[in-house]
């Protein structure tokens, strides 16, 4: 099945490329071969992103950049696709703060206090989440500390003057891609467990694109003029949970911490 669509995508891309060679400027080349996949539609005709999804790349939550292992941090390759060197484009003084964060990570990472992890970090924590769609909303329910995000796709505007742990998400459809513009963040969350951080000027643009029957590409472009010299972008595949008995359950961080403090489980 998967081989089937991969081969199909390859042929489509190759055909498109051939056409471009013949008539340059007439045919738009897909960004990648995977873009050729046509997502099924919901009842109202929008691309269907619904299902239970999860990352397989479990090292990104520990460090988005290329990194060797460290105490509590499994090694992994960078998920940063822009800039091409795979590094977060910190301002010099911000890089110093990042290194201090890393040294102090156990105490300074608010995730360790069971606080909400921010965006995009919530997406690549190693927990599943479920996407639901109605004509006005895309709703994402995360197993991790029962977080949900209500993404408005009704043309409504951002709220001014408030900030949130998870920001204020407003979405629209760009072809088959759900584009979510997220603003109004606080400065209390990190991007990973290695101290990669942002200010309250963070602006994230997420893109959710189906790439196959059981895969979805998640991209996030990250801007923050107080911390970075330029915008940067991560890209991660998400995989559908196909187990027939799979459900979103509960991971209740605070309740478990309280239980442990009392000498329980």
């Amino acid at each position: 099945m998967r081989f089937g669509w991969m081969r199909h995508s390859t042929i489509t891309a190759a055909t498109a490329l051939a056409l471009v060679c013949v008539a340059p400027g007439v045919i738009e080349v897909p960004v990648s071969a995977q873009s050729a996949y046509k997502a099924p539609r919901t009842a109202d005709g929008t691309p269907d992103l619904q299902g239970i999804w999860q990352v397989r790349n479990t090292s990104a939550a520990f460090d988005l950049e290329d990194h060797a292992g460290a105490l509590g941090i499994p090694p992994g390759r960078s998920v940063i696709v822009d800039p091409p060197d795979g590094k977060i484009p910190y301002k010099p003084e911000a890089l110093a703060k990042r290194q201090a964060n890393f040294k102090n990570r156990d105490a300074a990472d608010t995730l360790n206090k069971c606080y909400m992890p921010g965006v995009p970090r919530i997406t690549y924590l190693d927990f599943p989440f479920q996407i639901f769609q109605t004509p006005k909303y895309t709703l994402i329910t995360y197993e991790y500390i029962h977080i949900y995000r209500t993404i408005f796709t009704d043309g409504s505007k951002h709220i001014d003057g408030l900030d949130f742990w998870l920001g204020d998400p407003r979405g629209h459809w760009d072809g088959d891609t759900l584009v979510v513009d997220v603003t109004d963040f606080n400065d209390q969350t990190w991007f990973d467990a290695s101290g990669d951080y942002h200010s309250d000027k963070l602006h994230v643009v997420e893109r959710y694109t189906r790439t196959g029957p059981d895969t979805l590409r998640y991209e996030a472009t990250i801007e923050d003029p107080d911390v970075f010299t330029r915008a940067w972008k991560i890209s991660l595949p998400l995989y559908r949970h196909a187990e027939p008995n799979f459900r979103i359950l509960e991971y209740e961080c605070q309740a478990y911490a309280d239980e442990a403090a009392k000498g329980g489980r």
Partner: protein, 302 residues
């Protein structure tokens, strides 16, 4: 104030409430009547909890989605339920600042939880000595059926094959599949349980099992075990009103099932949005409870 400022002001006020949510509950224990029960004629039937004033106003005929089921999507809040959020059962006398009220129990007719003797004793002991154990003070989800009558209301979504409900309070949610699937095995216990739903005409029937024993029915120690089983019925009466009923069984704690009933009112404010509810991220509440109630505070608050 222009409309935008007014919205922000309202939202900021709710945000503050959320940061100090359980502190607010503690404060209310000593002072205020139950969270606003009525709707608002002046605002076209916006319940007070959504910023309206005045009595609830009935809506038009029930609308149906393309799948044939009633369209219950929107923002809802519990109507007059006798102060159930403070005490679910009949509480004719004020105690520890909880104002008197009838509660929400319609069966048995006296409005009291039909506890087994040991369970009645435990509830009394909790009220007298361990109110600081109140689960929401610790930012836990509210459980079922309490989730329906917590403050700040909830939003119903009806994507294909599901009813999903999200709450501002504790940013809780419940996923209710309506595709005929079975419950998960009993080994897995959850704060919100495992819910499966089906439609009986225009009534959504939700069966919930797999509940843990870490939530209460209210703020004064009325409790259940991990054998709790709840059957809820949501019947849309008009576009502004849902008749809500829940039958609760718990063989470890109760001598018989009990039933609660009240109405849910819809917000007709088309600009209404739920805000982010940060609880753990700013919780100071347990420190506000005195040592004689199981908390940390040295000074007894009058």
């Amino acid at each position: 104030m222009d409309q935008q400022e007014e919205r922000i002001s309202r939202m900021s006020s709710r945000l503050l409430k959320s940061i100090f949510a359980a502190a607010a509950l503690a404060a209310m224990l000593s002072a205020q009547p139950p969270a606003p029960p009525a709707g608002g004629a002046a605002n076209g039937g916006v319940p007070a909890i959504f910023g309206g004033t005045g009595p609830h106003v009935a809506g038009g005929p029930v609308q149906h989605l393309s799948d044939g089921h009633p369209d219950m999507q929107g923002f809802w809040a519990a109507g007059n339920n006798g102060g159930a959020v403070f005490e679910l059962q009949n509480h004719p006398k004020p105690r520890s600042g909880v104002p008197p009220g009838k509660g929400a129990i319609v069966d048995p007719a006296d409005g009291f939880i039909p506890y087994q003797p040991w369970a009645a004793a435990k509830a009394t002991d909790t009220f007298e000595h361990n109110l600081a154990e109140e689960p929401e003070l610790h930012c836990y989800e509210s459980g079922v059926p309490k989730q329906i009558y917590v403050q700040f209301g909830f939003q119903i979504f009806q994507p294909a094959n599901y009813v999903v409900v999200t709450w501002e309070f504790m940013h809780a949610y419940r996923i209710i599949p309506t595709d005929g699937r079975a419950h998960i095995p009993t080994d897995i216990k959850l704060f919100e349980g495992d819910s499966v739903g089906h439609w009986e005409g225009d009534t959504l029937v939700v069966d919930t099992t797999n509940l843990n024993d870490r939530t209460w029915y209210d703020t004064v120690g009325n409790f259940h075990s991990d054998s709790e089983h709840v059957v809820e019925r949501f019947t849309e009466v008009d576009t502004n009103t849902i008749k809500y009923e829940a039958t609760v069984e718990d063989s470890k704690v109760l001598t018989a099932p009990f039933k609660i009933a009240f109405e849910l009112y819809k917000s007709s404010d088309t600009k209404y949005e739920q805000m982010e509810f940060a609880c753990i991220e700013g919780n100071q509440d347990v420190t506000h409870y005195t040592k004689d109630k199981g908390g940390n505070a040295d000074v007894k608050v009058k």
